[in-house]
Symmetry: D2
Subunit: 302 residues, 4 copies
Amino acid sequence: MRIGFIGLGHMGSAMATNLVKAGHDVTVFNRTPGRSQALLALGAHEATQIADACQGEVVVTMLSDDAAVADVAFANDGLVASLSRRAIHVSMSSISVEFSKRLAQAHAQAGQAYVAAPVLGRPDMAAAAKLFIVAAGDPMAIDTCRPLFDAMGQKTLPIGKEAWTANLVKLSCNFLQGAIIEALGEAIALISKAGIDRHAYVDLLTSTVFTAPAYKIFGGLIADDKFEPALFAAPLGYKDIRLWLAAGEGQRVPMPIASLLHDRFLRLFAQGGDQLDWAAIGGLAAHDAEAVQGAAKMSSSL
Amino acid sequence: MRIGFIGLGHMGSAMATNLVKAGHDVTVFNRTPGRSQALLALGAHEATQIADACQGEVVVTMLSDDAAVADVAFANDGLVASLSRRAIHVSMSSISVEFSKRLAQAHAQAGQAYVAAPVLGRPDMAAAAKLFIVAAGDPMAIDTCRPLFDAMGQKTLPIGKEAWTANLVKLSCNFLQGAIIEALGEAIALISKAGIDRHAYVDLLTSTVFTAPAYKIFGGLIADDKFEPALFAAPLGYKDIRLWLAAGEGQRVPMPIASLLHDRFLRLFAQGGDQLDWAAIGGLAAHDAEAVQGAAKMSSSL
Amino acid sequence: MRIGFIGLGHMGSAMATNLVKAGHDVTVFNRTPGRSQALLALGAHEATQIADACQGEVVVTMLSDDAAVADVAFANDGLVASLSRRAIHVSMSSISVEFSKRLAQAHAQAGQAYVAAPVLGRPDMAAAAKLFIVAAGDPMAIDTCRPLFDAMGQKTLPIGKEAWTANLVKLSCNFLQGAIIEALGEAIALISKAGIDRHAYVDLLTSTVFTAPAYKIFGGLIADDKFEPALFAAPLGYKDIRLWLAAGEGQRVPMPIASLLHDRFLRLFAQGGDQLDWAAIGGLAAHDAEAVQGAAKMSSSL
Amino acid sequence: MRIGFIGLGHMGSAMATNLVKAGHDVTVFNRTPGRSQALLALGAHEATQIADACQGEVVVTMLSDDAAVADVAFANDGLVASLSRRAIHVSMSSISVEFSKRLAQAHAQAGQAYVAAPVLGRPDMAAAAKLFIVAAGDPMAIDTCRPLFDAMGQKTLPIGKEAWTANLVKLSCNFLQGAIIEALGEAIALISKAGIDRHAYVDLLTSTVFTAPAYKIFGGLIADDKFEPALFAAPLGYKDIRLWLAAGEGQRVPMPIASLLHDRFLRLFAQGGDQLDWAAIGGLAAHDAEAVQGAAKMSSSL
């Protein structure tokens, strides 16, 4: 299939590579140049402007946030202006529900199709074509994209006809993972303050009833108290929790754990943790439980 | 091995059955009579008083809480009074850290051994001898009990020499499960209010990155909004969260999700949910998000 | 002084009336017509478009939110376009920190002065010219406005040269009041469930150490469980808590009580409380503690 | 009136002094000797054992907690054993609801009267006989004690016939004050991080709508970030919040702000704040918002 691919970060590069390997005719575009060499070597083409990536049946976007997608979708030579009628914009970024609705409307008005297909999985899963893809939008458009999804992921899960529902489901998964981080952080804080070895504890958990990868990955990071280099940077986690809370506001659904996670991120950033993996919010419970400078400052305030 | 087994609830009956089937000489005791018939048919003996169950090398207790264990341990003919020197009390109930320390001290003073060996798993896992057993205490005593643990569980995980550490680890597992319930409850509340099918959503979660049984079990219950009959009754879950918070108090470790779970249980009980499965606290987020009698009452207060 | 006054709601009408009574030459404008008759009878003039209210030295705006102020400030014939150089926009509405910064910049670029002067007080205090006015901005502009502030309030409190600081302080006052509402709600929930008379309890509190009007007003409403008609409608309280949280986000300051209040408002709105006084969030703690339809629904889900 | 007075801490000494000055025949007892000299100089008598303080119509206890009151009430020569029939125990300490019920029962069985009369106010108010006294119990016994209450306080507020209701009301007042501390802490954290002067802010609050002494006292301490010497030590505040939460558990009333305060105290103690005034929990919000050692430690964990 002739497709465009916009956004060559850690995830996007791996996904585009798998599309090229599967034999598709892929034209890539990235705002920051210099990311496409390996892809070109595999046979991809490079677009020098967005419109050049919009000449086929499908354009995939895999970008960091609403603003980045808005830039490529609504630019003068952007997707809405450049895609032909009936062409499909497959938005695989983790974006807000509101913005997904806005994209759906803009593409509909332009006679184009819009599919939201955010992914579950880390860069290593993207490289191995093992992503889970949550897809929503027009069923026929999703069908058209099936070969692409099959090239990038291990499973595609259609969730509905309204594209934004896929974005909401994706945000919910990051919320559920954030809850695991915080709960593990609290448990490890108490267990270790009581004198039990953190790593033995995480091993015990993950070899019995908490066998999910999330417990292994986050439990290991928190037990090590080592959050660099970031696999998934804290500002990205924060962004998703904010979008999840914004969806909760829109639907009038109070979510106390989500509010707690939000406050944890603010504290992490206030204390300089912008570069850390988002699992670092799981280190804050232990900080609350330990003697820190704050207390020293307090007692020196005599 | 000649052993006593005290406590024939859902879990205890299944565990004692597996001990008998493995060829051990088991004398059972239960405060409420009439629970032992199936066991007797398999070859177990029945004790009419606690002391009769204390004639072997080991006595296992599997009871509901601190008070029930205290009753059998400290009664006039109880374990401390009746066990011979060097005999072992294997406490498999989910009890408090403080009470476990008290038991350790009492048995030590009486020249007896004490092993804390709480279990991870539900009644179906107990029946299938698939429990995980977290064991702590004197390593030689744990070794002596190995054949028993092997008959009841799939894996035994030693965590330390201080018996109470096993109890703390067990409580932490129920806390982590409680956090899953609450987080799922919040996610399902928003997802379903936004119009996405609850069951399709839980299927999606549990067939991708949240494959742990906890997500399947609790997600299913919350999606059904059906919490009876209880697999694990809410008052038992509440008991464990309280014991976990008490351990946090003792160690001075603040745990906001644990505090939230505590408040959720109080609300569930205030609203008549004592008979429900503890997953019912995961139904409260959806109640917060829906029009209920409370609001009607408010507006009729004109 | 020749002034314009835009916004004739409960608060604005009372404030404008006091300006007219103090002898100022006041031209009023309100988007919804028919609110100005009493003022015209006292000698005020009526503007048929915004620009007509911009012919004097000062224009006061007293509107419901950012959007309403933006409408009058940035319209084609709005304040920025119509005020003469050196004229002063006195913004007395409760608006966001971000929007206040934007107004400051726009007026500065147009050579105009901008003073933020939000008020503390309810409509009865506005009518009695007993408001407290928190003022920030150019000190000379504040001096020029002194006679106006003196006509509307009992005390003017300058807080800094950056106009937005006054808006932040105003938001903090509503946050502190929200915290009183929630805390009173929790206390009354427990006290009354324990069998103590709610009104006797509130009387006791407010005749001893909690003598501030907030405790009397909110305590009375919560004790009565009667939140209509609204003195300060819940959506307005919610707006201010959101703006306060947004300021906390901007500064990276986690505020758990503010997050709790936010969640309480979402629940109130989900349950149909949009028309109620914001003190109604103080009624939710009692709902949590009482048997409600929710529980019934749960048990009938068998 | 001939009375005994047990407990000569900061509060008790001041209260006993006012009873002596009012002409009552007061016999004092304190477990730690050396606190009574000033009282003896004024004409009080000293008891060398508890029973000696139990020879009159009334014994007042003003002690630190349940355990201290239990010691004097249930000792072999304690109040229950030594008071004559119809004599009155006036318990003015801040104790738990459960323990107050236990005292009521014990005195009733001994044919003695029991009045709970906890006080609202700080040591300076005790010295000035300006306390507020919340009284509950047998109305005739309260009447008998009126002259004593009048000598110690500015106002006596009967709240019911069940003595424990006075204890619950007293705990609620400390909870409401704790909520003020936390809310002020959050507000000052944001205000000051935004660049506004903390003291100017507190002055503004307390000269307008937050005129209650609590805002002045706690606002001043938090603005100074100086919590020593303690007027009301953090462990005493924690004790009262725990008793309040315990009452909430008993009645099944979830109280999220109370849970938050509980967690704040644990953190304060973990960080070495046991010697500080309880207002120090109001300093934690600012710590969350500032770069601290914790973050440094995190980034050095590379």
